[in-house]
Amino acid sequence: MKNLSTILATLVLVFAFMNSASAEDWKVSATAKKKLNPYELSKKNISSGKKVYQTNCKSCHGDPTKANMLPLVPAPTDLGSQNFLVQSDGEIYHKIKTGKGAMPTFENTLNDESKWMVIAYLRSFDKNKKKAVVAKAVVNPEVIDVKIELNVDADNKKLRAQLTGLKKDGKRVGLEGIEMSFLVKRTFGQLDISGEEAYTNANGELLIQFPTDLPGDREGQVDLLVKLTDEDNYGPVEEKRVLSIAVPTNPKNPLDERAMWGTRANAPIWIIASYVLGVIGIWSVIFLVLFQVFQLSKMRVKS
């Protein structure tokens, strides 16, 4: 029994070693290595890369730098670690594209743009390249009771949201560089109107132009929800409001018009008229003929 467990342990170790050896043996051609990310490391690209990462990569690799990957053998790499990020953009791209062993291929499931966005997201953890991120990282003071204050300029259709938090000394300060989502309720989902760079400024303020041509209900009302896009930092913070700044829309009922495709009750007048006239015409001809025949027989009696 003891022997068996020793053998098993040895086997496991050997396999683990073989696997780790093969993982390091992931050859990427020199031309593939030279590929550069065509998308810049902007906040927007990083944030869309984060979305792709969370739906496609997180289930195995966990969060970058947090080392909470699935306990597989071989263990999935922590994609935020500096050991991983020494690789070139092209190398990472190639690995996402082809996959190897337990790592699936994403050639057909992610388009090129999404793959590069993920790389942009991972690069945001790279200590050497972090400087390239367009907006500098902001350190906000530690705060509690974070809330969103919304001011609406109905004439110009502008929305001003201010994100503030209570500091430990009881002072309320604006939080900088936080992404917010402005969502308008539609029948089957929330329409995001925040635009591309929806980050708060130094005062915690964010100015959004409400779309001038977005339809609302009959009075031009829409349900607006303002919230933090990323709930990781301050938890779910949101503000709901009914605004009367959309275009008032009177829904057209196609059944109000008479049309060929309508049922009998909605038939066009000309069809009803021509049908009725046709029926009357045909029956009058028949009656006329019968009447004339009757007249003929009457004439015979007279003569």
């Binding site: 539609r186 029948t187 089957f188 495709w261």
Partner: protein
Amino acid sequence: MTQKTSDKGRRNFLKSFGVTVGAAGVVSSFSLLGAAKAAAQEPEEMVNLLTADGQLVQVDKNQLRPTVNEPLNELQRRGREGIAGKSFVMVIDLSKCRNARKCMAACQNHHQLRPEQHHINVLQMQDSDHTAPYFMPKPCQHCDNPPCTKVCPVDATFKRQDGIVLIDNERCIGCRFCIAACPYSARIFQWTEPKDAEKYKDLTYNIEANVPQKKGTVSKCLFSADRLREDKLPSCVSACPNGVYYFGDRNEDAVTNGTSGETVRFSKLIEDNAGYTLMEELGTKPRVYYLPPKNRAFEFNGDLLNEENLH
């Protein structure tokens, strides 16, 4: 025939009996809740009612309400009217369709169809000899100028105020004029007893789902009108694993992707991707829009050698 009539009579009796007993149960529970009230006011007259669990109870006559009207009529009425203020549209992104056929399975499940019967079908398309083949899901186009409703001799198929074209299987006489008139071949005919006919024979007919299906009548895609009433996306839209379908209200200028749940402006989606409709030269004004199959992230894996597969 006589057997059928008697069977129906018994079914009606059972149905009305069930409704009465159910109503008695409801009324009695109301009366229990309002017991304090009843005690305060001297009841004029008490009546005996049997509850659903077999207890004989007394109820104040003033608290009795007539039973609801027959549910079939209500379903028919609201099914004919449609949902006020809505104008439903669908957008199908051909660049994402890889023939998973989950839409078809979900649809057939919802509308009690056999595997060979299609309210929505994924077709393999090749427009001409040297063009790239692609997959094209094809539901009813819910035309704003539908040729099918024009030819119906009995007002069985009709367009509602929210733009959906429906058929009433209780009215349909099975003449199949609408099948002949439809340029998109969107309608099917129930030649044989429908799938699970025996299982669903006691189900109240729902005009917004065409269930239970009826032999000898025409059936068609309904944009899952019964689900729309609960603000749910149609079955095919929610079942798609590849983000092919967008569905929404044109009055709100927004469509929602059934896979990702992302909501986008309808006009912008169509403008940015050169959206088009099928056979618009016929003047049918379809409500289903297509985005061309460009920038596909996968290879076409259809079977084009078999000519039967090509459309």
